[in-house]
Amino acid sequence: MIRVQTEDFDVGAEIGRITDGNLEIGGLASFLGLVRDFAGDEKISAMTLEHYPRMTEKQLEKLEAEARERWELQDVLIIHRFGRLEPGERIVLVATAAPHREAALESCAFLIDWLKTKAPFWKLEDRETGPSWVTAREEDEVAADRWVRVSDK
């Protein structure tokens, strides 16, 4: 399930909604991304996430479908916020449930790696020196590439 929203979310409630009553789930892996109050050695007072509305849902649904095709998953949840967020606020939650831990852990890592480079969000940080767009990290490309299948290259 995909949700793109400005509102905060409740991690415990979201995880509970997946696991409660599903007696076939053996493991649930999750990743929670938060706004930090620094970037490099500069303080950050806020982060504004811009996104491309009509494309975002489409891309996230593709990512979910890709994860479900690669692993045997009982559930997939991606919640991604946009708008202005302050340090300490939740940005993104990825949760995957599977009969065994390997599928849950790997698909969760896969989803957050691909979200970094394939989800149409752009982050503007309010730094002491003024607003500054977050630039993509080289490591994020590398992390995303390790999930590319040889047949897709």
Partner: protein
């Protein structure tokens, strides 16, 4: 053709979207970028290094070689930073 800008591309161009009518000969994303850059001003700054620009055509990620046509929605932006 509707063109949308995001991230620092939007900041540099100065607007979030616009309707454009590129001349015949502008047939690909790369061609559109070159044509926009030639407008000068914020466009020239935003598209100074085309290799930094990523694109989507009709909400699907597309390479610079992707063909575009009248009626398409083309988005131009820096590498995405989701998650």
């Amino acid at each position: 053709m509707q063109v949308l800008y995001f991230g620092w591309v939007k900041s540099k161009v100065g607007i979030g979207q616009e309707q454009v009518s590129p001349p015949d000969g502008v047939e690909s994303v790369g061609g559109l970028i070159d044509w926009l850059k030639a407008r000068g001003g914020g466009y020239e700054v935003a598209f100074a290094d085309a290799s930094e620009i990523r694109a989507a055509v009709n909400h699907e990620i597309a390479p610079h070689e992707a063909l575009i046509k009248e009626g398409d929605e083309v988005a131009l932006f820096p590498p995405m930073t989701g998650g």
